[in-house]
Symmetry: C2
């Protein structure tokens, strides 16, 4: 029986792919009955498409695999708290539960800035569990921003 940590490790593998491409390193997977049915990593810069966040891509793949837009009995694992767009997509897909690595105080829509996942006025309520492999999920973000600052400083020097 695989644990939430096992699935978050898979989401972290996705985040690493984003990091290696110079993208903000967020990864997500969708799991059903212990099987991964959707994976995604942030691709905004490379795809030149603002909607290609990790969670949206994982949801799209999972829906394709299931043959329908309702991701009932599925769980989504994301390394970083979803933004408003991704939280909205999670609600639309009727995902019952999500696991979050690290929270995002700047634009998180799972309790930080707002809570779209648990807004009783919407027609779906998402259970949230946070802090799954938090240290590793924070670390990959820090690595990205360190690299970004280094790159910017080198560009300024040149």
């Amino acid at each position: 029986m695989r644990t939430p940590e096992d699935f978050m490790k898979e989401a972290l593998k996705e985040a690493s792919k984003a990091l290696s491409m110079g993208e903000v390193p967020v990864g997500a997977i969708v799991e059903k009955d212990g099987e991964i049915i959707g994976r995604g990593h942030n691709l905004t810069e490379s795809s030149k498409d603002p909607t290609t966040h990790a969670e949206v891509l994982a949801i799209r793949e999972a829906a394709k695999n299931l043959g329908g837009w309702r991701l009932l009995d599925c769980r989504l694992y994301t390394t970083t708290e979803p933004c408003p767009m991704c939280a909205g997509a999670i609600v639309l897909a009727r995902i019952p539960k999500i696991f979050i690595g690290t929270m995002d105080p700047k634009k998180g829509a799972g309790g930080s800035l707002m809570n779209i996942l648990q807004d009783e006025r919407l027609n779906h309520f998402v259970q949230i569990e946070t802090g799954i492999m938090q240290q590793q999920c924070e670390e990959i973000m820090k690595t990205f921003f360190k690299q970004l600052r280094k790159k910017k400083s080198e560009e300024t020097t040149i």
Copy 2:
């Protein structure tokens, strides 16, 4: 010089396509310098993908045409107030202004239920103009729900 009403008519054409497919009839277009660079109509049921709302599809097409994820100097026209996912996508795409046909008190995220488009804590603020061809945008929704009720009542009778 084309007016906001002219562009909303194009969004309404998109909504009509959705209606004829049995989809919730929402249509959207993205305009830049008077040219339509992205179009979309809700395709959730036919595509079996919960993220294929009109606004998201119009944004994706516009980004592809522009060759980048920043839809600066663009305007989005949508027949119905965007849901949280679409409002989030509009903010991510940095669209400066949107025109809305009719508001959605049940799940609108442009002032009705919440206002993601104008949340000062996010890094982008979207101007909103509402009530563009409101009657026609409301009418197409009413037609859809009337057809839906008729279909359900026929199914019950059978």
